[in-house]
Point group: C2
Amino acid sequence: MTADFPSSIRSLHLKVTPKRLAILDILAGEPGYVSPEKVWQKMKERFGKIGLSTVYRNLEELSEGGIIIKIVHPDRKLYYYFCHNLEGSHHHHFVCISCRRVLDLNFCGLDEIEREVKSNLKGSVVTHLLQVFGICERCGI
Amino acid sequence: MTADFPSSIRSLHLKVTPKRLAILDILAGEPGYVSPEKVWQKMKERFGKIGLSTVYRNLEELSEGGIIIKIVHPDRKLYYYFCHNLEGSHHHHFVCISCRRVLDLNFCGLDEIEREVKSNLKGSVVTHLLQVFGICERCGI
DNA sequence: ACTCTAATAGAAATTATTTTCGTTTAGCTC
DNA sequence: GAGCTAAACGAAAATAATTTCTATTAGAGT
């Protein structure tokens, strides 16, 4: 169950490029969520020069495909996170706004919300956004 | 229970300015969520000239205070919505991405998530973001 | 290994939002 | 209702993210 980046990338019908591999490698090596800006810095260390839009585009594509997690911080900036137990089922995350660690949540109330949308509103859910921000055990008082 | 904008604004310890009143009036007159840009257009109709930053600032302040709802669309753009039954308890919204209507959801899984964060992770929740996007009954097939 | 083509990368422009800072104003006090 | 002061406003600059369009490259087929 060690991560096989090329296969992951291919499973999204994306080409396996050195930059995609590097982005995954960088994210997987980080303990918490990272800003696109920081990913860009690290990519520049590896490639000397790389377009910022490439970083943004790839982060977006990879998170779209579910290989990495996209976090919309309360400050509205974007962050990305490589979730190591992603093989598991749908789950959400608790994000520590102090140390940037990301912890898994088992509970997902969305099942019930989806049911309510169907029965009460007669609508259908296309997508949802659930993020919980707080202070983790280590950072707490 | 008809909306009393001046009181609402004062309850947030904000000054009751013509622009704030107008922003609330505009939002309350819309059936769905509106973009800051559109609010700005309507404000310009009323005031002739008004700074875009004033619109953004006020929308943010009012949503911060809970008088209006801030919606972060999946496209990451911001929208705002005046929820007419805001006196009620904490609740979330189903947002139709087709017609922009906003419908109330009764269920809030956050209680349980908060419990899980406390017991399993020993952390505390500071804020959360839950938004459900989909297609409402009218817009559905 | 070589060719081909659709997918990807990068530069630059654009859009959306936020911040800064000097000017104006709401609303309290007299 | 005149004066005062903290809050609000507006213009312009800064920041974050996205789009566009041309150049480059991964990887399938040979």
